[in-house]
Amino acid sequence: MKYRLFSLVVLGLAGAIAAQLPKADNCTPPPSAIAPSLPAKLLPGMGVVHLAITTSNPEAQKFFDQGLAQMHSFWAREAERSFLQAAALDPDAPMPYWGIAMVAGGDWRPRFQIDLLNSAFGKQVPPAMARARAAAEKALELSKAPGKATDLEKMYIAAAAARRDANAKDGDDAFVKELRVLLAAHPDEVEAQLDLALMIMRGFSLPDRKPVAPGSMEAVQILRNLLEKAPDHPGVHHYVIHAFEGSTFAKDAWPSCKRYSELVTNIPHAIHMPGHIYSQTGRWDDAVKSFSGAAANEREWMKQDKLYGDGHHGHNVHYLATAYSFEGKYDEAVTAARELMAYKENPKQVASADLVTTAHAQGWFAMMRTLVQFEKWDAILDDHTLPAFGRARQDAWRHWARALSQANKGNVEAAREESRQFESTMLEFRNKTHRTDPDELKVARQELAGHLAVASGNRGQGLRLLEIASKSERRLTYTEPPYYPRPVAEVAGRVALKMNKPGVAERDFRAALQQYPADSHAVEGLHAALAQSGKPVVAGF
């Protein structure tokens, strides 16, 4: 299985959300469905990048460089605006059109993300791709005019044109091939090395964290070299984060996390992205700083542009709530979740049979996660705190959480009733979506059986069921934030503690910590398990 650094990319939703691509991945704001129409401004905090282009207008060079910097932070919409401005300032310059060709299609992202989207939904061609293709053709055309493009620029344009060729068997591979040609002639070209690294990084597998393809490690090597050659290039640090994520050496990206957010201070994704590495490596407090910083920045952009959308903000604040929850900060997690729950879904989203990626839906899930992880059984039963959602998937989760709540409060019959409602809502899900049960809800069903057994006095059986559920949960597709509320191993460990089985509890809590390093709930449980077994706490770490 490939490592998947994806925000709520729910593979089980392929049929329903294929049409929404690329919204299915909210980790980067999607490209504009329509070409940006308002003029660009030179903005602070974009990061400093320079690629000399053939132009008669120095202002065009400035906007081109800004677009390039925005491209390297995956801000396709603003990058396209900057490139358009450069093109308007110098209509004869081909490289601004190269820039549009690079970003307008919305597929300037790590190759492993492209692989995942393709495997989940098949190759999609969004309407915006037409702009990218037209721009590639324009760049090619302009570059043929005498004196309008250097050989190097022509090679960059040839690479982009190869990717945008509608008849290409695999445009991404064609792009890589052209980049290698360019680098054979210009081996020190930083931009081309960066582009190549992004397009060959294929990620790491789970659970063994091995490279998926040779490109995974080639990209790492390219980027390690660039860290020395171009230490202030924001793209280098950004791509290091993506190239190292999910590997055994993810911590090696820590310096780039720090540097990237220093170099790019005004792009939400740039501020947000280090939080992924921090959360993977147990630095929850730093993850919180990344996500909260990105949220503050993004709110400013949202105020200025009514077409900004709220999907990326939803992902970012959902992850913020998750980080708070794993860090053990209940009130903060609830506050973050509530911010998102206040967002309204648009009419099309409301009418959808199944949807998890809206800001509102992400807030609701973050609330449910927090309440369950902190075992706030009374709050779960409070309709105001965790209201019915009105969509089968979320309402199934709600009945599940309520069943857990009743079971843990000792109300076995009420728990069984919620369990029945969970099943009837799952039937509604299947009827409305024409799909089978999502994997994570199958795990939820397994976990619930464990709680019911424990509540009925069959603790041994309950523990066994919970550990089975835990194994299933660890096999789920990995996403960030996770779409299972919290590691089931946390629950199994607590039950084992109640059964005075500290060895079992220790094993379970360590399993949870392996999944989510420094998970405060598991740390607390591990302390208790070690204390119960008479081992010194220090031995646990």
């Binding site: 490209p31 469905a33 329509i34 309407p127 077409l307 900004y308 959308g309």
Partner: protein, 280 residues
Amino acid sequence: MRRPVTPFLRHSGTPSAVLLLAAIASAGATQAKSYPVDGIVVALDPAGRTILVSHRPIPKYMDAMTMPFRVENAIELQDLHPGVRIEFELVVSRSSSVARNIRKMAVADVEIPAPREKLGIRDMVPDFQLIDQQGHPVRFSEFRGRVAAVNFIYTRCPLPDVCPRLAANFALLQRRFTGRDLVLLSITVDPDYDTPAVLAEYAKRWAANYSVWRFLTGDVAKVAAEFGEVYWSDEGSIGHNSTTSIVGRDGRLAAIVEGSSYRVDQLSDLIARQLGEGSK
């Protein structure tokens, strides 16, 4: 080229119109045959248990045209209105034909609930004032006595099969009904961006004749809701459904066509009927 149109309602009680009779005769079989039909309702005659439908070509049977169909089950007429897209089975025997199993067709992947304010067929359209592409205030009541076709677009719409298609259809209507009492109104769902100047440029692109085709902006929320148009800000675009409404000379809502996949001939048929050209 005008489409064949058969008489209807004014000659109600004669569902066996000439073309239908010809079709039945051409079936020439002793056993009934069934053909799938996809069309837009132009008019309804519940008493005569008949619908007038502007239909697409019926494979292996007949070309696209407007014709009346007798309905087997009158209950199926209850939810229909002029402009609605339907599909049904046309069952043709030696001596008769009926429309069976009439179903409204979904026009979008996700059915978006209509706004509460949405007008019903035959409701009087409340007057409204907006600004046209020349910056002039326009009141809807100014067009009383003319048939009006109203759609909703926005100039930045990137999807060729939505707003550009709707605009292209109106451009064809403008040509087809030259000199008739028809006014075309395209109301933007992106009024912040679609200023009169932007709309004027857009109108130029479609060669819009100002006396026939107005592009309107301003406070469009109320009028959009009344015509059943739903729109919202999305990720870098504006999401919206597509409604095209026909308003009669009397200012009452005569038909609503949902979606953008209708054929312009079908919209023409709805307009021609309001212009009183249905029996030509």
